[in-house]
Symmetry: C2
Subunit: 339 residues, 2 copies
């Protein structure tokens, strides 16, 4: 049990990740849900949001930046809008519960939203539309994080990568999952390592000037998706999370990768909306959604994320890969936590 190899089965990975979270203090059910979502990211091919992050979550739990004993405290309870205080718990199980709550209410009222304030990083945002989309609902999710983007034309970072995700209940489900920054920081880091120039529109220097120099960009800021429009979308995301839910704006959110900030709760907020897709039709016809994949296919394309499997129905026997470095870090953590 104690060793992590670079190749491991999904089932083994979930069991091991879960054991680590339990050893760090999480309750069993919350650990299992979180481990499954973390491993689902690796299975989806988004290793940057999968097991690679687990050592940082564990470090923050031990340092106190993530509260292993957190519950979801009900703050606001309207028929279609619920707000929870996450008590600085791990984002994964919290946002998953929020999505389930939104789905349940939307089936009665038609649309429902759940906000969580005072939570933590939740991994890949697209994971959380599943509890909604798997029940035939449209699910939309927003989250925030540390500031990495300036306002359009500006010189200081005040917006996170401002991710949004959405699930449309086509068969298979359409999963939209994107940052409103032009690219992720990891893509810039890879260019820096390769000594390659950036593409125009990816990044700014620390003074807010456009740059193609990857190193200047790493010391600088991310650019919004498609220029001013991406900035506008990021403002919407930050408004629905940090500004209106709070308590913390992106500009004040600690970096989860910085050890010296591991004692500081991130106080991140998340927001999900569930919409009963079966009740929207003006003409009682619900077959258009069944036709959509074929229409897109006949036009030469495919629907976004239609290759992303349901995190609740992962095949435990499938094999995922992690880097040697991540395998070693996780093995160290199993020793450190006495597993």
């Amino acid at each position: 049990m104690a060793q992590f190899g670079t190749q491991l089965s999904v089932g083994d990975a979930i069991a091991k990740a879960s054991a680590l979270l339990v050893a760090a203090g999480l309750e069993e059910d919350k650990a299992v849900i979180s481990a499954r979502l973390i491993v689902a990211s690796d299975r989806w091919g988004i290793g940057s949001h999968g097991l690679m992050r687990l050592p940082f979550y564990l470090e923050r739990i031990l340092a106190g930046g993530i509260n292993s004993k957190a519950s979801m405290k009900l703050v606001t309870d309207l028929p279609s809008l619920v707000v929870f205080d996450g008590e600085n718990g791990l984002g994964h199980w919290q946002l998953h519960m929020a999505a389930e709550e939104a789905a349940s209410r939307a089936k009665t009222t038609g649309i429902a939203a759940v906000g969580i304030g005072r939570s933590s990083h939740c991994g890949a945002l697209g994971l959380y539309v599943w509890p909604m989309v798997s029940q035939g609902l449209v699910g939309i999710a927003f989250s925030t994080g540390p500031a990495v983007m300036p306002p359009w034309g500006g010189t200081k970072p005040i917006l996170s990568t401002s991710p949004m995700a959405a699930g449309i209940p086509t068969t298979p489900p359409t999963i939209i999952d994107l940052a409103t920054s032009a690219v992720a920081r990891g893509k810039i880091a890879a260019k820096a390592q390769a000594g390659a120039p950036l593409e125009p529109g990816w990044a700014f220097t620390k003074d807010g000037l456009p740059t193609l120099d990857a190193k200047e960009a790493l010391a600088g800021m991310l650019a919004p998706l498609g220029g001013v429009k991406g900035y506008a979308l990021a403002v919407l995301v930050e408004s629905l999370t940090g500004v209106l839910i709070g308590p913390r704006l992106a500009k004040d959110i600690p970096d989860m990768f910085a050890s010296d900030q591991a004692t500081l709760p991130q106080e991140i907020s998340h927001f999900v909306i569930a919409i009963d897709a079966t009740r929207l039709s003006v003409d009682g016809e619900n077959s258009r959604i069944d036709q959509l994949p074929q229409i897109v296919s006949e036009a030469g394309g495919r629907l976004p994320g239609s290759n992303r499997v349901n995190p609740e129905e992962l095949d435990g026997a499938e094999i995922i890969s992690i880097t040697q470095q991540v395998a070693e870090q996780l093995t160290l953590w199993t020793t450190k936590l006495g597993i």
Copy 2:
């Protein structure tokens, strides 16, 4: 009353536009609301969605493509989700009513949405977040239209410019209003007229290949905002409108500028969401939204659309400009309708 000049006061423009719509058969109250929203676009500097379009609306009304006697027929009535059949009425007053209904319900249930199927073009989508934002709510709006974009990597148009808008109740309100296409068709037409090349990422040929040739692009398709991410957003917009509300997908929506299609109802769908911004806070603190404009300003930027005045509080004495061609067309219509 019968003449339109190229310079006219907002009050005069509303009165004249309203008289034209009444003469074409609309009821007074619906004509006045619609005229105000049309003129507000000109006042906002979006002439492409203002009085310039009125001759086409009038043509469609007389030809039967827009039903001047339409009402909003209630199709679905859940506590937080309402769907109306627009009976092929003009989009402006219909979407305005939908936004008012969403706002009213959100104040009770926390969040509410209203869909309209079988409606028509509504002008600038950002107009419709005002009935929500002016009451302290977050408002989000989606609409569809004729197909002009292919799926990512595809070769046939199946998506409209897929606009979305949002209002955040800052002071003054933040108004987000964007197409998820990289640019509007008008911008490409202007380049064609000037004989100038397009910027990369704006358009495709009719076969779906990237092009910098404005004429090829006009015969081709628009590209999505920022590539595949814009495509994903457009899929969300089309799903929440044409696919789930219906009855018509973007690929089947008639062009409002084509005289030979003026008899055909567009059967466009719209969707609005209102969220009670005052109930989202996790810590009872609602001052972050008051600080936002200053935070953005200190970072060297400004919030989107903060110069857009409330369409319900236009200053009738202010002067707007229309082109000579639009003035002549509108003057012809006053004669034609016997005003």
